[in-house]
């Protein structure tokens, strides 16, 4: 898990979610790429981050793309954040005794239905073998996880509007990765609201 480096954080706001990651890919101490994005969309309301071993980032991303495409075609509907989380969890547990070295983070806004007209924004995270946690505030993972916990705990508050959530999650990510040798080299933040997703690249320390 400490070979390539990288971290991801997700936060809940008022009718919005944020998910952000750094852009570093390294080989232990040597930085190799500063454009290695670790957060990917399932659709425009559901994103997930895969911090950890870079080869597994690619493999899991493609595997999940396959599974979600099959789901979308068979069920004729988009997968919900909760269901996607379970899908990732069972995919990881299949490799219980030879796991993927990834700790995924999922963030999304469930679509309103007749039975649930005002669904709560959703984030979740899990360990390398798929144990799901569904926090109400923020989810962190990666080499800077300990630092992310500290800053998020200090900066997060409930019901942040999208613009404020952006500031909060950006500061959380930047200040945490600046204290971690294996994370950093750029950062990307996605803010997901009901009408759009705003993606911004942060001006970060490149050391």
């Amino acid at each position: 898990m400490e070979l390539n480096g990288g971290s991801v954080v997700a936060m809940i706001g008022k009718d919005c979610v944020a998910i952000a990651s750094d852009l570093r890919l390294g080989n232990q101490a040597v930085g190799v790429a500063s454009n290695f994005d670790k957060v990917f969309p399932v659709n425009d309301k559901l994103y997930y981050g895969l911090p950890g071993l870079a080869t597994d980032v690619y493999t899991l991303k493609e595997h999940l793309r396959f599974r979600v495409n099959m789901y979308r075609m068979k069920e004729e509907r988009e997968i919900t954040p909760k269901t996607f989380t379970h899908l990732v969890s069972s995919t990881l547990y299949e490799k219980r005794f030879g796991p993927f070295f990834i700790e995924p983070v999922v963030a999304g806004l469930p679509t309103p239905t007749d039975l649930d007209p005002h669904p709560k924004p959703f984030i979740s995270t899990m360990d390398t073998i798929g144990c799901i946690t569904t926090p109400k505030d923020f989810a962190v993972a990666g080499t800077a996880a300990d630092k992310l916990y500290g800053v998020a705990e200090g900066l997060w508050e409930p019901d942040l509007e999208p613009e404020d959530l952006f500031e909060t999650v950006s500061q959380t990510l930047l200040n945490a990765v600046d204290r971690d040798a294996l994370s950093g080299w750029g950062a990307v933040v996605h803010i997901i609201t009901h009408d759009k997703v705003i993606t911004r690249t942060l001006r970060a320390r490149m050391d």
């Binding site: 068979k74 069920e75 909760k82 989380t85 379970h86 899908l87 069972s90 039975l115 649930d116």
Partner: protein
């Protein structure tokens, strides 16, 4: 070997088409279904009812041990017409399919998805060596948050389609005519149960009591019931009516 009505030389091999484009073994399987006891399903605005005759060849048989309406998972139930043993196998397979889905997605399959899987199982038995088609038609009632309540039929060929109301088995022609007259899109679940009992009664040989019929219902949950409480599972939407409940409906 070759008789004019029985399909001739093509009626014995499942995997050979007849010149008219039929798989005659499937036609024979449908005949097995039409010889079975009548079952029916009716979709209502707030649920679905499945009902079947539970006819036994002898008064000495303990019909309480026979299960013709079977739950597959909390939101889906099956009923059949045709060969009982084939039904039991398919129910076991369908339950396993539902659990496998739950193991991956943490929720039970939507009705349509389960119907597709079970239809696939039945279709395999029409395109393999050394097997015969299942001698049953299934009526499947289910509820999911995406489509709401839906009623499906699967035939021995593996074809499936959705119904508002339908009947299968011995008395299906009369029952469907009866249902066509009585069905409307505004039926409530209570109306549907009442109509189902009347329809069954039309072709019933012998006494219709709570021991000679089985009823299963889907009830559409309210938004309050859908709120997940921590540590508790959502209430099931499919259940079989107890003998007492059936008796109450019969006395109306």
């Amino acid at each position: 070997m070759s008789g004019p009505g029985s399909g001739g030389a093509y009626s014995f091999s499942l995997t050979t088409f007849s010149p008219s484009g039929k798989l005659v073994q499937i036609e024979h399987a449908l005949a097995a279904v039409s010889g079975g006891t009548t079952s029916l399903g009716i979709k209502a605005t707030n649920g679905i009812v499945l009902a079947t005759e539970k006819k036994s060849p002898s008064l000495l048989i303990d019909t309480s041990a026979l299960e013709k309406v079977a739950p597959i998972c909390p939101n889906i139930g099956f009923v059949y017409s045709g060969m009982g043993p084939d039904f039991r196998i398919l129910v076991a397979k369908a339950r396993k399919i539902a659990q496998a889905y739950w193991k991956v997605y943490g929720e039970y399959p939507p009705t349509k998805v389960l119907v597709q899987e079970v239809a696939g199982v039945m279709q395999k038995a029409t395109q393999s060596g050394g097997v015969r088609p299942y001698g049953i038609s299934l009526l499947i009632a289910g509820w999911d948050s995406h489509r709401g309540q839906s009623l499906w039929q699967i035939d021995p060929s593996g074809s499936y389609w959705a119904w508002k109301a339908s009947a299968i088995g011995k008395n299906m022609v009369n029952a469907k005519t009866f249902l066509e007259k009585r069905y409307n899109d505004e039926l409530s679940l209570e109306d549907a149960i009442h109509t189902a009992l009347l329809t069954l009664k039309e072709g019933f040989e012998g006494q219709m009591t709570e021991q000679t019929i089985e009823i299963g219902v889907i009830t559409v949950p309210t938004p309050e019931q859908m709120v997940e409480k921590s540590g508790e599972r959502l209430p099931p939407t499919f259940r079989k009516l107890s003998e007492n409940e059936v008796r109450d409906y019969l006395s109306l």
